[in-house]
Symmetry: C2
Subunit: 347 residues, 2 copies
């Protein structure tokens, strides 16, 4: 049985869950769903030592203490990026660190409710991985979301595994609705499985500058035990692109393109907005900081402030640190309109 090395991507500094999520403490490090953080849940998802090797964490250097704290002593290699360069260079660093491994690349800020289904999807893909295919996982779409890329599912290659017909970048809502109606599209969940060599090979074809820059960063890396500090100058020379754009979309277009998708229904959410969290979590209830009168069905979160609510239904109220967000359910995608107005130092 092939051992899989998890690569956990934690480079994001998402502010879509402002004010709880900030550049200093992005959402993967917050216990937003249940008592563990999404980073911790991602680690737990690949904790089976019979199936998974110790993970490689790729994180922003400013989050080193958070990563170390939430690893809780679990062995891991930690690659600390001197700056965020999107997913493709982050994965390249991990692939260069362990070029003979089979890598399962996962964002650290997603929820997967049905871990059994996830593991089954991974197992289904392994025979093709051994043949050098690049595997992505396709989430069954349940709404015409415009915030995700879509994957058109092509011909079957094996049980549960299909050729990618093509990748579709974030669509408008009409296009999204059409794809759902067509029934042969899945969301691109940002989870990937491949041999490190296969990825590096694709990178050498489709993004040679990136491969070169990341190679330079790793050649010049400083190692402190299991912590790796890539050379900053080398890494900063890399283009900042997503794996989808830099590799997967281009590889899928090749005549002999070996990019496959495993459609999977596993209770996935990228928790990309307070509304997404509300759909997962519902009303929290029982928070001793929250006092209501004639107010129902809200998503009310506070990290300490006392909140009194009167006569407001379906409201999102998030109090964190010195900041408060107030918006109706259904409007939380506009959080960025607030974050854009904030002074830069507040991230």
């Amino acid at each position: 049985m092939v051992m899989i090395t998890p690569v956990i991507l934690s480079g994001g500094a998402g502010t879509r869950l402002w004010p709880m999520s900030t550049a200093d403490r992005p959402k993967q490090f917050l216990p937003l769903v249940g008592i563990e953080t999404m980073f911790e849940a991602t680690l737990a998802r690949v904790a089976d030592a019979g199936q998974f090797a110790d993970p490689i964490i790729v994180a922003n250097a400013r989050h080193e203490a958070l990563v170390r704290d939430q690893l809780g002593g679990r062995p891991a290699r930690i690659i600390l990026e001197p700056a965020a360069r999107n997913t493709a260079p982050a994965i390249a660093l991990a692939a260069l660190l362990d070029p003979h491994a089979t890598l399962l690349v996962m964002p650290s800020d997603h929820v997967i409710a049905d871990v059994t289904a996830f593991h089954a999807a991974v197992q289904a893909a392994l025979p093709l991985v051994a043949q050098g295919w690049l595997i992505t996982f396709g989430i069954a779409p349940d709404a015409p979301e415009t915030g995700y890329g879509y994957i058109q599912v092509g011909d079957a290659l094996a049980t549960g595994v299909h050729k990618v017909a093509r990748f579709v970048e974030k669509p408008d809502v009409a296009r999204a609705a059409q794809m759902i109606a067509d029934g042969d599209h899945a969301w691109n969940g940002g989870i990937f499985l491949f041999q490190a060599q296969a990825f590096l090979g694709a990178l050498s074809v489709h993004a040679p500058d990136m491969l070169h820059a990341c190679q330079r960063a790793m050649d010049g890396a400083r190692h402190e035990g299991s912590t790796i500090h890539p050379d900053a100058e080398g890494f900063m020379a890399s283009p900042a692109d997503s794996i989808d754009y830099a590799v997967m979309e281009k590889a899928a277009k090749e005549e002999q393109g070996s990019v496959a998708v495993v459609p999977v229904s596993m209770g996935w959410s990228d928790v990309g907005s307070w509304d997404a969290l509300a759909a997962l979590a519902g009303d929290t209830g029982g928070d001793t900081n929250i006092f209501t009168h004639d107010a129902a069905n809200g998503l009310i979160r506070s990290d300490g402030a006392r909140i009194g609510l009167i006569g407001v239904d379906d409201l999102i109220v998030i109090a964190a640190g010195n900041d408060i967000l107030i918006c109706p359910k259904g409007r939380s995608q506009d959080v960025r309109k607030i974050v854009e107005q904030l002074p830069k130092d507040a991230g």
Copy 2:
């Protein structure tokens, strides 16, 4: 020209403007309307040394520092109540301190926009005050408010001064609307003008226990310069009643009752709710802590927290200290429903 001694009542610990107004710092000491506090505005209203003597402040002992700070060095006698016993005993203390004075009794937490009209009303009443009448000021009602007492305006006694036909306690809304339709009722604004002797005389008839207790409190008072600490045991023996209930209503019912009202339109507000403040202040604007997107016509106040608002119109949001209030305009009378739920130590 008779000199008038202002008596400024600052005993209230109103929580109707929670969370800004708290037991430790009630609303009269907050700059809610403009840059000065209502306590300061009340002092300024009676600052003309040709017309007004130095004021007597009656305040809760816990607010001594606030009173002293906001007096800003202005000479005043300060009576510090060991506990709140409502308005009648507070006024009795002041009357006993200066029994030969003519007293203008004013709450410290009201707004009067047209001070000229107020002064004119006071001048109109003085001839009757000299004859021993107890004067109240009647506010022209502009809505069927159920939170105020009403005064039925009787026969004219002099230009602008009328006998009180009767006092009406806080009515229901139908009764309030009827009184406004009748056109001969005014709101009881809680502002009074009389000789101290006349008030003490009425007190001796209608509330002799109160007079006795307050006399005992002042006989045993400790004087520190111009600060007076009434004897606590004596004062606590007094019934806790409003001047309206203890004296004015009863005196007005007497055959020879000498209670008069001066109807006056002077831009009065008791700022008794956030909605009342919204009516006075409108949107604050220009607060660098407030960030909006598609949100209009709110009353948003913050003493430091940053507030981001998306897609919410006509909302009241008040952030003060560790507390946040959120309610639609028109619902702020229910703030008490929140305050009642708070742990007692939070006042």
